[in-house]
């Protein structure tokens, strides 16, 4: 449908159009887009066939008939016109805005003007331009502190990747190819490459861990003070906040320790900080599984599943990081000092994971 002004006018040829009410006795032809005036019934109809409320008495024709142009002011006068009933005999002059007021006497352009496709179109475009301007402004501001384009890379995942990655985290023993494909110096997006790190799983895992920790605490009863008449649940809403902040703190500490180790041993890698964040947070998946097993069967389930998840995670981390830390190709490089350091770093990072897993969950399983 043609939504241009002229097109609107054309399509309304012969239809009843909301327009100015002609003064008494005058009848206008359908081509100029005014309301149809039915002299027999003294009733006018707008474009929806609804009767336009009449105002008392005939009113003088004060304006040119510019109903087609009045559509220009729809977006603007939708608010202004809603306030002012626009009695034509209080408006003088030929200004467009006032003509728009005068064109709709006694008829508040209420919410039904948005059913008019032209108005809806214009309102949508206006809203879209506002939204995109706001978004660009925010992006510019945020880009200075956190590079959003880099973060977007880590969230480019799909369902298949997530399923495969979770399976790898819990059972990495049968996967053979751990290399990451590159395109022009940056890794391929995670949705195309299973071995690439992402931040979606870690984010979801951290949030789920906090909720599962709350669940575990809620299912336990304990007595903090010396003598309580009845045991209190260990859960309260602020415990969730404390768990969240302590999980964050340990994450930050671990990443800092790894970064410091990377600096001190002067290993040349192209592993980025966000990659480290992703790898450090993969342990939360194992922690969640162990906690849930600990709910089902108390200590035995917890420690058993924790041992298995720790082993799986160590294998996963070692094999994945061997490709990331080694630099290009994953083959051992020539001089041996770098190799030994890299090996130690890998072992250190992988061995840190079970320790952290135990440390962050053992207080939740009584």
């Amino acid at each position: 449908m043609d939504y241009s002004m002229s097109g609107a006018r054309k399509s309304r040829l012969g239809q009843q159009v909301r327009g100015r009410k002609p003064a008494g006795g005058e009848s206008r032809g359908p081509g100029d887009g005014t309301t149809m005036y039915d002299p027999q019934y003294q009733q006018q109809y707008d474009i929806y066939g609804q009767p336009v409320p009449q105002q008392g008495g005939p009113q003088p024709q004060l304006f040119e008939d510019t109903s087609g142009q009045a559509y220009n002011n729809y977006g603007n006068q939708g608010y202004g016109g809603g306030v002012d009933y626009g009695y034509p005999n209080t408006r003088q002059g030929g200004q467009q805005g006032q003509q728009a007021y005068g064109a709709y006497p006694g008829n508040m352009p209420g919410p039904q003007i948005f059913q008019d496709p032209m108005v809806a179109n214009m309102a949508m475009q206006y809203g879209q331009s506002l939204a995109s301007q706001g978004r660009e402004y925010m992006d510019k501001k945020i880009e200075k502190y956190v590079s959003t384009s880099q973060i977007k890379y880590y969230f480019a995942v799909d369902t298949h990747y997530v399923m495969k990655k979770l399976q790898l985290l819990l059972f990495p023993y049968t996967h053979t190819d751990w290399s990451v494909r590159y395109e022009q110096d940056t890794p391929v997006q995670p949705r195309h490459e299973v071995n690439a790190p992402d931040l979606y799983i870690p984010l979801m895992a951290v949030v789920t861990y906090i909720l599962v920790a709350g669940l575990c605490l809620g299912l336990q009863k304990s007595c903090v003070t010396g003598d309580c008449p009845e045991l209190l649940h260990r859960f309260s809403p602020d415990v969730l906040g404390m768990q969240a902040s302590s999980a964050l703190v340990w994450l930050v500490l671990e990443i800092f320790i790894i970064l410091a180790t990377l600096y001190v041993t002067a290993i040349q890698t192209h592993i980025k900080t966000l990659d480290l964040l992703a790898f450090s947070s993969y342990k939360y998946v194992g922690m969640i599984v162990s906690l849930l097993a600990g709910l089902v069967m108390d200590s035995l389930g917890y420690y058993g599943v924790l041992a298995y998840c720790s082993l799986s995670l160590v294998v996963f981390m070692f094999r994945t990081l061997r490709w990331q830390v080694q630099g290009s190709g994953g083959t051992m490089e020539a001089y041996s000092v770098g190799n030994k350091r890299r090996l130690y770093l890998l072992l250190f990072m992988s061995g840190l994971q079970p320790l952290m897993m135990w440390w962050l969950t053992h207080h939740l399983v009584a």
Binding site: S245, S246, V249, V264, A266
Partner: protein
Amino acid sequence: MAFGVYSLLEAAVLCLNAVCVLNEERFLSKLPGWGGSHVQGFGEEPGIKTQIFHFIRSVKTVMKYPLIPLNICIILFKLIFG
């Protein structure tokens, strides 16, 4: 068991204090290898000791002055809020 972000901040400030308090002339000069940025070749990897010494020296240079107001803030916080 960590308690939250403020504890992390406190721990960081305490560790930085510990590094900055190391006295240059009484202690650090006596360490073997302290003066050595000239003994290292270009293509070789620097040893762990030199890296640590670089780290200590840079922390002392950078954080000596900002740590003073940070410490004052934390002390006031502890005094007022316990």
